[in-house]
């Protein structure tokens, strides 16, 4: 029974991924990408990885879908923007085919080499799950995934947050000139009512996930994604204007989580290795970092949608 479920899931994943990539029609590709995200969340649930299932449900199925659909709307004609033609099909001449063939050959060789290298790897000498379990008492939290993310390998998470922040800075450097005018769509009173109903619950759930992260699946990334989704929903319901340019407060909010993380790391340098918490304070410090990250990640992810989204509102 379970084998059948997993097999079908894998087939559906492969099919939707392939169609999303191969479809010449962008609208269909975006829809299939959303479908792929939902199937991926189910796959993580089947793989006993509820942390990633949560993140995938929030980011893959919700936020990314909205971002891609918004981008799609700006690419289409009828928005007042100079309409780009539908993506040019490469002419199916012999040179083009040879080009495709050589790319496929190189990619295939690379994949084969990677697979070979993977099978040549020696058996790991350190049993990581046991190591994590043995050190849980000193981690300050009860949930192994959170312990790994923010304590044992906290520096990975620190750098990940830095990457997200840099991505947003990259967006800022593009500036409003890069944005095509968005069609805000007709005002819809029902939508405003929905936003007023859902947004408080989203913020509540974000707080719950942040708190839950200490002892069960949840944490800053999932909570931040929920906050960002709340901001996007408010914006789509025309209750929250686009961010024309980040003011001082917003800049502080965007960078704050990373700065808190960095500050804690700097303050603890005397402990020896990077981000080695004293066991007595570990729980509190992790909660502090996660709270900062929740707000900042929420703002960063929302910023990807909201920054310069209102470029057309200026004359």
């Amino acid at each position: 029974m379970n084998l059948l479920l997993d097999g079908l899931l894998v087939l559906a994943l492969l099919w939707s991924a392939w169609r999303a990539l191969a479809s010449p029609d962008l609208a269909r590709a975006v829809v299939l990408f959303i479908v792929f995200g939902l199937l991926m969340a189910l796959a993580w649930a089947r793989l006993n990885a509820p942390d990633i299932a949560l993140a995938e449900a929030a980011i893959g199925a919700g936020l990314t879908g909205a971002l891609l659909l918004d981008a799609l709307g700006r690419l289409q004609p009828g928005t007042g923007a100079p309409a780009p033609e539908s993506p040019a099909q490469p002419p199916a001449n012999r040179a083009g085919r040879r080009w495709t063939g050589s790319v496929a050959l190189v990619a295939g060789l690379l994949a084969a080499a990677l697979a070979y290298a993977l099978f040549q790897l020696p058996a790991p000498t350190v049993r990581l799950p046991e190591q994590v379990a043995a050190n849980m008492a000193a981690s300050g939290v009860d949930h192994p995934v959170t312990a790994v993310l923010l304590n044992f390998r906290g520096y990975d998470t620190l750098l990940e947050v830095a990457v997200l922040l840099i991505a947003l800075i990259g967006l800022l450097t593009l500036g409003p000139a890069a944005g095509r005018p968005a069609a805000p769509g007709p005002a819809n009173p029902l939508l405003k009512a929905l936003a007023r109903l859902l947004v408080p619950l989203m913020i509540l759930s974000a707080g719950y996930l942040l708190w839950a992260g200490a002892h069960r699946p949840g944490g800053a990334f999932q909570a931040g994604a929920l906050l960002a989704a709340a901001a996007v929903l408010l914006h789509l319901a025309q209750l929250l204007p686009a961010w024309a340019s980040p003011g001082r407060l917003l800049r502080l909010g965007l960078a704050g989580g990373f700065l808190i993380f960095l500050g804690v790391a700097a303050a603890l340098l005397a402990e020896g290795a990077l981000l080695t918490y004293p066991p007595a304070q570990a729980g509190g410090l992790i909660l502090l970092i996660e709270a900062g990250l929740t707000v900042s990640l929420g703002l960063i992810l929302a910023g990807l949608f909201l920054l310069f989204a209102g470029a057309e509102e200026r004359p």
Partner: protein, 92 residues
């Protein structure tokens, strides 16, 4: 646990596979989007069933998040993405 949860989850997955046909065929962009929305509501049900089929309580949280966010993509579609009633370049 009634023992029905896992078979019903499988049944819902088969439903999803059938709905993929609508996502692939269209004909309007909205029809495809409807299939994605169906994936959302059925996905919530599947996550709940999987949670009670031994997946554990955290999957209920995942279902809750999915239910909270299911509206976002649909709203973004209706408000931002859909400008034409027929799409060009349909090769289904």
């Amino acid at each position: 646990m009634t023992g029905l949860e896992a078979p019903l989850a499988l049944f819902l997955l088969v439903n999803l596979l059938a709905a993929l046909v609508r996502a692939a065929r269209g004909p309007t962009a909205a029809d495809r989007m409807l299939a994605a929305l169906l994936f959302g509501s059925t996905g919530v049900g599947m996550l709940l069933l999987l949670a009670y089929a031994g997946g554990g309580a955290p999957l209920v949280d995942a279902a809750l998040v999915l239910a909270l966010l299911a509206a976002i993509a649909g709203v973004a579609f209706a408000q931002r993405a859909w400008h034409r009633d027929r799409e060009g370049g349909d090769d289904a």
